[in-house]
């Protein structure tokens, strides 16, 4: 059911973990399935220098976290905000229809982390 890319990212997820001194942290629970993803970002000069994630979720959620963090790393905040769950799914070679919502987890957690970063900047 999963693409090879999904399986590959699931087996060797990139950027797993926490950033203790993160500039922004976002956590989101999935409305559909109750799963959770948490994203930590480290920002320098408006660029995401480091990003890590943790997931309590299905295979698609883990692969999405891995893929999204790879995609976001090195991007500016504005560029990172352009990443949608659709992009993540596409980069993973597609997700089964009933698993599309899983890619939301990662993207939404990233938005939240950026929001958190911005609010800390503003604060």
């Amino acid at each position: 059911m999963y693409s090879e890319k999904v399986i590959e990212h699931f087996s060797n997820p990139r950027n797993v973990g926490e950033i203790p001194d993160a500039d922004g942290v976002g956590e989101i629970g999935n409305q559909v399935c109750g799963d959770i993803t948490k994203i930590f970002i480290k920002v320098e000069d408006n660029v995401i220098k480091d990003i890590k994630f943790k997931t309590f979720g299905c295979g698609a959620a883990i692969a999405s976290g891995s893929m999204l963090t790879e995609m976001a790393k090195g991007k500016t905040i504005e560029e990172a905000l352009q990443i949608t769950n659709k992009h993540v799914a596409d980069m993973l070679g597609g997700l089964p229809p009933q698993k599309m919502h899983c890619s939301n987890l990662a993207a939404d957690a990233l938005y939240k982390a950026i929001e958190d970063y911005k609010s800390r900047q503003a604060g």
């Binding site: 973990g17 956590e27 399935c33 109750g34 948490k38 997931t55 309590f56 299905c58």
Partner: protein, 386 residues
């Protein structure tokens, strides 16, 4: 890659001896058992012999056995047929919260149609309380529907007591024995069952065949309309190879029951001890003793079941996380939440169901495989504090 099948509760391979019995009916013996001529006659005979074997395996009379397309159909028509035939006597059904979806959803459907349905709760081991059932009975109760053993957590219900109770109060008792048949003794007399459902593919028989036991004298109406097959109780051209295979599978299941159960129990306990000994934050789900001899089920905290299954799968181990027919579902198991397990813990469920051909060595391979998987997934989990 090594392949270990630990998912016998979901479905089993067809026993080669069963296939052997089926083959003639997939080849030259293709007649319709209702046909009168030489193509039909031997086929009719084979169907009746299969009926005798299934009947013998559950202590019934062959006339009391109706062949169906599987466990789901048996359960559906058992319940629907019983309440339709007894509508004039009442409209109240008693069932429990941990039934298989085919039973639970049929009862919910009847509730929407205006039947009154009491869903009796279970304790933390997944067990119903007979007194609660007794006190739920009213003058309008026409059916008690409690499964024999639970497919997700392996808990064996006190069906004999429920059967006695039902008998005393003149209420029809249906029990879904799809999960228990072939693993523990299933005897319609001892259980006091009026209706009982079994499925072939859970006992090394073919998919697409099941049976419904209907005790002589039970008021029950057929659900399918059509030809006069199965003595008017189930219309449709018979799935002859399926029926013949089920007959053989039932015979074999009954014959090998004691020995195989004892063997599987040892393996099961090795799984349970291995898991509980090796991991923290894991609980055995279901009853610690009154459980199916081949059934071990757990909740792993901080882990989502699918990623555990997928990781096991990548190492060749097939297991499941709750009932197969809801594998695509995003909801936590109704069985586990009924037992008081929180949804987030319920997501971490793992079910191992052993069967013919499984070995100690496979259990050890499974345990060794599982260890780094759990470690890795927990490290990845935002819920895990250690």
């Amino acid at each position: 890659m090594r392949r270990v099948y630990f998912d016998h509760g979901v479905t089993t391979p067809l026993d080669p001896a069963v296939l052997e019995e089926m083959l003639p009916f997939l080849k030259e013996q293709f007649g319709n058992p209702s046909s009168f001529h030489w193509f039909g006659r031997p086929v009719r005979k084979a169907v009746e012999e299969a009926r005798e074997k299934v009947a013998a395996a559950i202590g019934a009379d062959p006339k009391e056995i109706v062949f169906t397309s599987g466990g789901t159909e048996s359960v559906n028509i058992a319940i629907a047929g019983a309440v339709t035939a007894n509508r004039n006597k009442g409209n109240h059904i008693i069932t429990c919260t941990v039934e298989h979806h085919c039973s639970l959803n049929t009862c919910k459907g009847l509730a929407r149609q205006g039947y009154e349905v009491t869903f009796v709760p279970v304790d933390s081991c997944g067990m119903v309380n007979v007194e609660q059932i007794a006190s739920a009975i009213t003058d309008r109760t026409i059916l008690i529907n409690i499964m024999h053993a639970n497919n997700e957590v392996g808990t064996i219900q006190p069906v004999a007591e429920i059967g006695r109770l039902a008998r005393e109060r003149g209420i029809i008792f249906h029990t879904d024995a799809c999960a228990s048949f072939g693993k523990i003794p299933v005897n319609v007399e001892e259980m006091g069952a009026d209706l009982l459902s079994v499925s072939a593919h859970k006992v090394y028989g073919p998919k697409g065949c099941g049976a419904l036991y209907i005790r002589k004298g039970t008021r029950w109406s057929p659900v399918f309309h059509g030809g006069a097959q199965e003595r008017l109780r189930r219309s449709g051209t018979e799935n002859v190879p399926g029926i013949v295979g089920f007959g053989k599978a039932a015979e074999m299941a009954a014959a090998g029951l004691e020995e195989e159960s004892a063997r599987l129990k040892v393996l099961r306990d090795r799984v349970i001890r291995g898991v509980l000994g090796r991991f923290e934050h894991v609980q055995l789900t279901g009853h610690p003793e009154k459980r199916l001899p081949n059934h071990a089920s757990f909740c792993f905290k901080f882990i989502e079941g699918e990623s555990m299954l997928l990781s096991l799968d990548m190492q060749g181990v097939a297991a499941s996380s709750g009932s197969a027919c809801t594998a695509g579902s995003m909801e936590p198991s109704h069985v586990l939440t009924s037992m008081g397990i929180s949804p987030v813990d319920a997501y971490g469920s793992l079910m191992v169901t052993l069967g013919k051909g499984n070995s100690e060595e496979e259990v050890d391979y499974f345990l060794e495989t599982l260890e780094p998987i759990v470690k890795k997934l927990r490290e990845m989990s935002p819920l895990c504090a250690f």
